[in-house]
């Protein structure tokens, strides 16, 4: 049984949540639905860890669906980079679920709870699929699976605030445009190479000289993905969607969704295309790099003036995406290492922050910062977690956020771009401002007369503190994440994704 599971680990990682979804709908009962979802995500998490362990030495796993060999059959390809992201997604899914069980009681009608779990599982399956697949069209399919379920999940916030509906609609329109761009890009690539298998495309591109068809395809793919990961001027859908979605959905999306789209970009940039091509390199240096800097500053600056805590954190997420994009733009191992490490570290940090915000909203009923005066006294545990996660967001040493920033700075200096290093630290100073603005309200303002609220329920506190402690743990014992990220970065840069350096597991291998 275990042997079977390990042999088929790549497909089972995706299949568990995907199959859980319809069963949950049939299960009807809320508790049963929760247990099923929790089991599925924990199972996936275990398998993802296994895959991560297998790929640490630079091995690339290839799994042929149904035994059909690529490029005709669909192939799942796991290297250190997407294995790390698989762990992030499944870890967050496993932690988010127990929180959701308590928090959605307030936010979503009881009748819709099973649907909520089903949609969440579909979303997880979609994100995992995008991450793991080695087939370009498969990426699109899973992207739509995750996006469609996300639209539904965002719209479920309508019970608390009707604006969730228009936010979901905005997201739907822009998300669809992004997906369309991506598919058009794929069309160009298919036209030029005649194949959809990523490794195969890479080989075909390497054989032919770069040409305008491929370049157009690349441009479309970059824009499509940039919409999905909310690169700065294409970010309009994100703040509203994060603000009005149910707290736990915001937590999950902020921690995972944008990172998956970023990985697709990295996949195309490094594994399929190559940055040795002038056009692709120029795209990175003259488009992505300036836009990432812009995101770091403009989005952080906008976060300073947000009265709504969730929206503040949403803008901060935009800025953090800027950091990750900046790491990619450096086109060095250190830069990519920082991006991969930040994917993990930002996931736990932002996850904890949104959970803390969710717990505050659960008790006070408001997301507006002025309404949170003096909460440090009434909800000490929630607020303490917010402080720690906030410090991690700023990048104070001893927290997870520091690690990735340290590596990013190292990358900037290593490349000799010291002015970039100064910009990075300058923008993180803005994070001090918007985090401290919140902390002052939480701790230094008196409790308003007549507000009598208790600490958040246990069901919210435990997952919240789980992530908060992870922020500290991975800030001190950074070796684990750093070395995994470095393996991922080296794999991406050295083009280990190519067909020949691959261990085949699955129906015919092993």
């Amino acid at each position: 049984m275990l042997d079977f599971a390990l042999t088929h680990a790549p497909i089972l990682t995706v299949l568990l949540p995907m199959l859980a979804a319809p069963i949950i709908v049939i299960a009807v009962h809320r508790t049963a639905a929760f247990i099923l979802a929790q089991l599925a995500s924990l199972g996936s998490f275990g398998l993802a860890l296994y895959l991560l362990a297998l790929t640490q030495d630079g091995t690339v796993l290839s799994y042929h669906l149904g035994g059909w060999a690529p490029p005709l059959g669909i192939e799942y390809r796991v290297d250190a980079a997407n294995a790390l992201l698989l762990v992030v997604i499944t870890l967050l899914a496993s932690i988010v679920l127990p929180y959701a069980r308590t928090s959605i009681e307030q936010e979503i009608d009881p009748g819709q709870h099973t649907l909520f779990y089903a949609c969440l599982m579909l979303c997880v399956a979609g994100l995992l699929g995008v991450t793991i697949t080695g087939d370009a069209f498969n990426i699109f399919v899973f992207l739509e699976v995750s996006s469609l379920s996300t639209y539904v999940l965002v719209a479920m916030g309508a019970k608390r605030d009707r604006r969730a509906l228009s936010a979901a609609y905005d997201y739907l329109v822009l998300g669809t445009i992004g997906a369309t761009f991506f598919v058009i890009g794929l069309g160009f690539v298919y036209m030029a190479t005649g194949t959809l298998n990523l490794a195969d495309i890479a080989q075909k591109i390497a054989e032919q000289d770069t040409n305008r068809t491929l370049q157009s395809g690349f441009a479309f793919i970059v824009v499509g993905m940039a919409l999905k990961f909310a690169m700065f001027p294409l970010h309009r859908w994100l703040p509203n969607a994060y603000t009005y979605a149910p707290s736990i959905i915001t937590t999950f999306l902020a921690a995972t969704a944008t990172k998956v789209a970023l990985l697709v970009l990295m996949r195309f940039l490094f594994s399929v295309y190559s940055t040795t091509f002038g056009f692709e390199r120029d795209t990175v240096v003259f488009v992505l790099l300036p836009l990432s800097l812009l995101a770091m500053f403009v989005a952080s600056f906008m976060a300073v003036f947000q009265p709504n805590l969730k929206r503040l954190l949403a803008y901060s997420s935009l800025a953090q995406v800027g950091y990750m994009l900046l790491g990619i733009s450096l086109l060095t191992t250190l830069g990519l290492t920082s991006t991969m490490a930040h994917m993990f570290n930002h996931a736990i940090t932002k996850g904890a922050l949104f959970m803390a915000a969710g717990a505050i909203i659960y008790r006070t009923g408001t997301a507006l910062i002025p309404g949170m005066a003096g909460l440090g006294k009434q909800m000490p545990w929630t607020c303490a977690a917010f402080v720690i996660a906030g410090l991690s967001l700023i990048g104070v040493p001893g927290t997870a956020g520091f690690v990735s920033k340290f590596i990013l700075l190292q990358g900037a200096f290593d490349k000799g771009w010291w002015f970039l290093a100064l910009l990075i630290v300058a923008s993180s100073l803005i994070a001090v401002v918007y985090i401290w603005r919140t902390l002052e309200v939480l701790y230094l303002q008196p409790v308003p007369e007549g507000r009598d609220i208790k600490e958040a329920p246990f069901g919210l506190l435990v997952p919240l503190w789980g992530l908060t402690l992870a922020c500290i743990w991975f800030g001190l014992d950074a070796d684990l994440v750093t070395s995994a990220s470095q393996a991922a970065a080296e794999g991406l840069l050295e083009g280990r994704f190519q067909p020949d350096a691959t261990v085949i597991i699955g129906p015919e291998g092993r």
Binding site: L391, V396, P397, A421, L429, V432, E440, Y443, L476, D477
Partner: protein
């Protein structure tokens, strides 16, 4: 006891106390008593460690591997030991004082106050014993964050604004400059370990060296080098025990201590001397000394005046490092000790006056000395020590710095030091004198009723400040041993040989 266990205990004890204080928040006597016991034990532990260090015990502890080739680890060396001895020793005294002050003044949130205090001591110990820049940076930021609630303690508008300046400057400089400097050093040198003689020699071009030094000099905001000194006066809104221990000893000394460490172990004094990279820093420190003293003259608020005096005195230590000779470094190290005793006494006196009379302005203190003789005499002794008159401790460190300036041929720096001493006289002694002359108490009829009731502050407040004032006197006679203590820092340095030429 194994040296390693000892170091871990020294770090663990304040942290455990911090948790203990929060648990016993509703049992004030048990909480404060145990904390005092803990502080005494901590001091004894540091003393034991010192003895073991000189007996030649092993002294490296790796706590956690941070990434390949970089770890969070601890190491014992003389400068750190000296700093830890001063901070832990004065903590015992300050804790007693703090109990008297907090209770006598009816401040709120005692548990939070003492817990943050214990955490700040933990961070200070971490700074003192850090084996590399990364560890130091970690504890440096922990110290900033844990002292923020102490500065904002009163939670009114003034405290909030003060705390905002405090955090903004300290965290801003450390993230913007210090972190940049640390990462840059790491990229250039491939290591962040503190090594005698420095790690940068031959790895940095001569033109880059001053820039890197600037990142450190301004990044270490806790050293209050102008123009990043504003946080220190702003921090004076904190309750006085905080100003006394943290903003005269632990926090600011952590700053200059880091400065010395960077100078000695990262750049190396010989490298600094041969490249001349620290020339500009010397002049800036000299400017800081004079300018801050001048500002202190104009301050009517006693704590603010002392704060500006601290800014000026901290620059002595930066100056000692920037002179880049062994005598300068020893003078700087010595000044950490002597200034600590002097300034903590002055702050405790200011606090005692506040507890007894609720007066903060110097102009209101006429004749108070007759009512509070112990406090004012202690103030006088400490003032003389800061000014640098024998037989008080402060004279030695100034002497060493002057020798260092003479060695390097910087006659102007000698002039600066002398001018500064004169300015010290001008802004410290009037406070003392005002306490005893003018007979303001008797002549001020309007407030006669109020003054009639004034006596010394509670015993808990007065005894500690008498002890530290006595310390100023005792340290004068033991300055030689402190100097011998610090000599390993500069052993084998070329500057030692050429220094006396």
């Amino acid at each position: 006891m194994l040296t390693q266990t000892l170091i871990l205990l020294i770090l663990g004890l304040p942290l455990a106390l911090c948790g203990f204080i929060l648990l016993t928040r509703n049992l004030p006597n048990i909480r404060d008593g145990m904390t005092f016991a803990g502080a005494v034990v901590l001091f004894l532990l540091v003393i034991t460690l010192t003895q073991q260090f000189f007996a030649g015990g092993t002294t490296d502890v790796e706590l956690i591997q941070f990434q390949a080739g970089l770890s969070i680890s601890l190491h014992v060396e003389p400068l750190g030991l000296l700093f830890a001895l001063i901070a832990s020793g004065l903590w015992t005294v300050t804790h007693i004082y703090g109990i008297g002050y907090m209770r006598g003044n009816n401040e709120k949130n005692h548990a939070r106050f003492f817990a943050c205090f214990a955490f700040a001591i933990f961070a200070t110990m971490g700074i003192a014993f850090s084996a590399n820049l990364l560890t130091l940076f970690l504890f440096y930021e922990a110290l900033t964050i844990s002292t923020y609630p102490l500065v904002a303690h009163k939670q009114n508008g003034e405290a909030r604004a003060g705390a905002r300046t405090y955090l903004g400057i300290l965290m801003g400089t450390s993230i913007a400059f210090l972190l940049t400097g640390v990462v840059w050093t790491y990229v250039l040198a491939g290591t962040l370990d503190f090594e005698l003689g420095g790690i940068l020699e031959g790895k940095v071009s001569a033109s880059l060296m001053p820039v890197l030094l600037a990142l450190f000099a301004f990044g270490i905001g806790k050293a209050a080098l102008m123009p990043f000194h504003r946080w220190l006066p702003a921090a004076m809104v904190a309750p006085t025990p905080v100003s006394a221990l943290l903003h005269a000893v632990a926090v600011v000394k952590a700053g200059v201590f880091t400065m010395l460490k960077v100078g000695v172990y990262i750049f190396g004094i010989d490298t600094l001397a041969s490249t001349g990279a620290s020339q500009w820093l010397m002049w800036l420190a000299a400017f800081s000394i004079i300018a801050a003293s001048t500002v202190a003259l104009s301050q009517n608020n006693l704590k603010k005046r002392l704060a500006y005096s601290t800014i000026s005195q901290l620059s002595y230590i930066t100056l000692g490092m920037a002179l880049a000779t062994s005598m300068g470094v020893i003078g700087g190290g010595l000044h950490i000790a002597t200034h600590a005793f002097g300034k903590i006494t002055l702050f405790m006196c200011a606090g005692a006056i506040y507890v007894a009379t609720h007066k903060t302005e110097i102009s209101d203190m006429r004749g108070l000395g007759w009512k509070m003789p112990f406090t004012f005499i202690a103030f006088g002794i400490a003032s003389l020590s800061i000014i640098g008159l024998p037989p008080l401790a402060g004279s030695w460190s100034k002497w060493a710095l002057m020798v260092a300036a003479a060695d390097t041929g910087h006659l102007i720096i000698i002039g600066v030091l002398m001018l500064s001493s004169m300015l010290n006289v001008a802004y410290l002694l009037p406070v003392f004198a005002r306490g005893f002359v003018g007979g303001g108490v008797r002549s001020d009829t309007r407030e006669k009723g109020l003054f009639g009731g004034i006596a010394e502050a509670p015993l808990f407040c007065v005894v500690p400040l008498c002890l530290t004032a006595l310390g100023c006197l005792v340290l004068f006679f033991y300055a030689g041993s402190v100097e011998a203590f610090l000599t390993p820092l500069v052993d084998g340095s070329a500057a030692t040989a050429t220094g006396s030429e």
